[in-house]
């Protein structure tokens, strides 16, 4: 095999892995959009917030310590304990449920029946609020997140793919980050769990009923309030998983919230209402932008990853406005 093709394959594999992470964020969007018609821009910030909270719990940080120090003139930072990763994840999940309840109780309960665009704006406001809140609570410095996930390139894969080069000295086997493999596995498990949940549990069925028709669901006795809190909690859980993956990869910092922006073209490509769409869209975007950067990037100066996803989604939408798997848009006057 020519080296170029081998490198291309490696880029492709890495793109697939990156795509899984995009899909993970997009999944949270789809869940909320399907159940409540809210296009939740705050999903990325939720991931950031979840990751910040997780790190905060694990390191035993004092919440709002910066604020307390500024107001009271004290100098406190840490409680001095370290909590096990698994326990912290449970605690963080509790935090995300509280957050889901608050969001529902204080924001969206007052906005029922508003136009979708107003709801979208409200989630942007929410994103701003949570960003400030998270930073205020846990501090804005870059944090290291280590819950014991394996990291670094996998030697096993490198050694076992080296033969593909057929003695080519420039090829040392495929370089694939272990973390990406773990992320892929976890994402797959997450999707399976979500599908099982929505197909076979009572709450899951109620969730699908709400997604189908609010009023009909209400009339057969489904509590909309409960379902919405639940959906936001599930989205919070997905955000937590995404936050852990991205946080372990590149540290917990502000830029984590920008992955929401990357998830948008994924959604457009896959269609806003489709879970398989989110996954396929994520993979296409992940592979597409890595391959584009690999092939065309050097010709135009690189860093094409910044915009390629959006332009791809834009071109795609011109030909198919509802995305790959979205419901057909029917407009009536």
């Amino acid at each position: 095999m020519p080296t170029q093709l081998l490198f291309g394959t490696e880029v492709l594999l890495n793109g697939l892995m990156a795509g899984v992470l995009y899909a993970l964020v997009a999944l949270g969007f789809v869940l909320i959009y399907k159940a409540s018609g809210i296009f939740n821009y705050a999903q990325g910030v939720m991931a950031l917030f979840a990751a910040l909270t997780l790190v905060g719990f694990m390191d035993g940080q004092v919440p709002f310590s910066h604020l307390i120090n500024a107001v009271l003139g004290t100098d406190i930072h840490h409680f001095g304990w370290h909590i096990n990763g698994f326990v912290s994840i449970i605690l963080t999940m509790g935090m995300m449920i509280v957050l889901a309840y608050c969001v529902q109780r204080f924001v969206f309960r007052h906005l029922i029946g508003q136009e979708p665009i107003i709801l979208f704006m409200a989630t942007i406001g929410l994103a701003y609020f949570m960003e400030g809140f998270g930073d205020l609570m846990w501090g804005s410095d870059i944090k290291k997140l280590d819950v014991g996930l394996p990291q670094g390139g996998s030697f096993w894969i490198e050694e076992n793919t080296q033969w593909l080069g057929f003695g080519n000295e420039n090829f040392f086997g495929f370089f694939i980050d272990k973390l990406d493999i773990v992320a892929t596995v976890i994402a797959a498990i997450l999707v399976i769990v979500l599908v099982l949940f929505s197909q076979y549990t009572k709450q899951g069925r109620a969730m699908r009923a709400v997604a189908d028709d609010h009023q009909a669901a209400l009339s057969v006795g489904v509590s909309l309030n409960f379902i919405w809190v639940m959906v936001w909690s599930v989205a919070g859980f997905v955000a937590l998983v995404a936050g852990i993956m991205w946080g372990a990869k590149s540290g917990v910092q502000f830029s984590l919230s920008l992955i929401a922006l990357k998830a948008l073209p994924v959604l457009m490509l896959g269609g806003f209402t489709s879970i398989p769409g989110a996954i396929v869209g994520g993979l296409i975007i992940g592979v597409g932008e890595k391959l584009f950067e690999f092939t065309v990037g050097p010709l135009v100066g690189g860093a094409t990853e910044n915009w390629f996803a959006y332009v791809l989604a834009l071109l795609f939408l011109v030909f198919r406005p509802q995305g790959l798997f979205g419901e057909k848009i029917i407009e009536r006057v």
């Binding site: 665009i117 107003i118 609020f129 400030g132 948008l264 073209p265 457009m268 094409t304 407009e331 006057v333």
Partner: protein, 358 residues
């Protein structure tokens, strides 16, 4: 009492078609113009111009532009930062390529170039609607910023990748560059705000504005009654981008002086202007000014109170600012989805009847 039409007799169509048909309103308008043109320039210092007036004036233009697109024509755009960058770089290229032409025309031409770019990125709006369009405009945002970063021609091959405005004068008075006095840059921006305000106000209450609003309310129905969606949507994109381009050009040349594209015209700028439009009120020119004033003044106020008076660290104030802006947006959407402009309308209704309740 204050704000009423009683005793005003309109005897001609011109009277009937005035922008401000009520005398009180008209006098208020003249008073604001008088204060803005003849009082403030003599009273300001550097701090006020740089911290309050210039950002307010420049963001007002951008907010009017975005309001035309989002509020009047119903096409949500998140590409404002990118279009402002087009205005800034167009202005820079024109300033350096044609130094003999007055900068006033450079700014206008920068607006024109941005209008063309905006139309190109507005083309998908014929197929894509709502959220999908909002995300599609992100393509403009990221692509344009990347383009200005990567193609050295745009920043004249300067080593730092920045663009900085050379000194240019109007009637012999410097308005850009290091030797500009505060009042000169203020006046220069004010003239553009004045022109843009009148232009936008008259466009939106005329035929074109009604077409835009028809498209916003229901594009298929509008098409059936004879509004051409192609022309309406593209004209909205063009006009909106023109304003945004002008504001970008002023932002770069008069306000900042030197610009690095990713920093000055990033996605946060798009959101900032969008927030101004929402908080001010969708579909209102006054609302654009109100929203811009609100979001320019809020950080200045917070900073003065928290850092200046309470002595808190600046990063803490920045976090609180995020929280407050976010909370304000949510509160506004819940309490008054039509923004500050609606509050103003309600206040005017009250004033009309005052001191009687009905």
């Amino acid at each position: 009492m204050f704000y009423r039409e009683a005793g005003e007799f309109k005897t001609s169509y011109v009277d009937d078609n005035q922008t401000f048909p009520i005398r009180f309103d008209r006098y208020r308008y003249y008073f604001v113009l008088f204060a803005a043109f003849l009082v403030i320039p003599f009273a300001v210092n550097d701090y006020w111009v740089n911290a309050v007036f210039m950002p307010f004036l420049i963001y007002s233009i951008a907010a009017i532009g975005l309001n035309i697109l989002v509020g009047y024509c119903g096409q949500v755009s998140l590409g404002t930062g990118g279009f402002m960058a087009v205005g800034a770089y167009a202005c820079y290229k024109l300033m350096t390529a044609m130094p003999e032409v007055n900068i006033f025309f450079h700014v206008l031409m920068a607006g024109g170039i941005t209008a063309m770019v905006g139309m190109a990125f507005g083309l998908p709006s014929l197929r894509i609607k709502g959220f999908y369009l909002a995300v599609a405009t992100l393509a403009a945002q990221f692509f344009l910023v990347w383009l200005f970063n990567k193609v050295p021609w745009f920043y004249n091959y300067s080593a730092s990748g920045q663009i900085s405005a050379p000194e240019r004068t109007v009637f012999g008075i410097a308005v850009t560059g290091a030797n500009t006095s505060a009042w000169a840059s203020y006046m220069f921006c004010l003239v553009f705000v004045f022109i843009c305000g009148i232009l936008a106000r008259n466009l939106t209450r005329g035929t074109q504005g009604r077409k835009w609003m028809a498209i916003r309310d229901m594009d298929i129905a509008a098409e059936i009654i004879g509004v051409d969606p192609l022309k309406s949507k593209l004209s909205a994109f063009a006009v909106s981008s023109f304003f945004i381009g002008v504001s970008g050009a002023l932002f770069f040349s008069v306000y900042l002086g030197a610009v690095e594209v990713g920093e000055a015209f990033g996605i946060t700028k798009s959101f900032l202007v969008l927030f101004m439009v929402i908080i001010g009120g969708l579909g209102s020119i006054f609302g654009s000014f109100a929203g811009a004033a609100f979001l320019v003044l809020l950080p200045v106020l917070l900073k003065n109170v928290l850092v200046g008076m309470l002595g808190w660290p600046t990063d803490l104030a920045a976090h609180l600012e995020f929280m407050i802006v976010g909370a304000m947006i949510i509160i506004f959407l819940i309490a008054e989805p039509h923004g500050l402009a609606q509050l103003w309308r309600v206040a005017k209704e009250k004033l009309r009847l005052w001191p009687f309740p009905h």
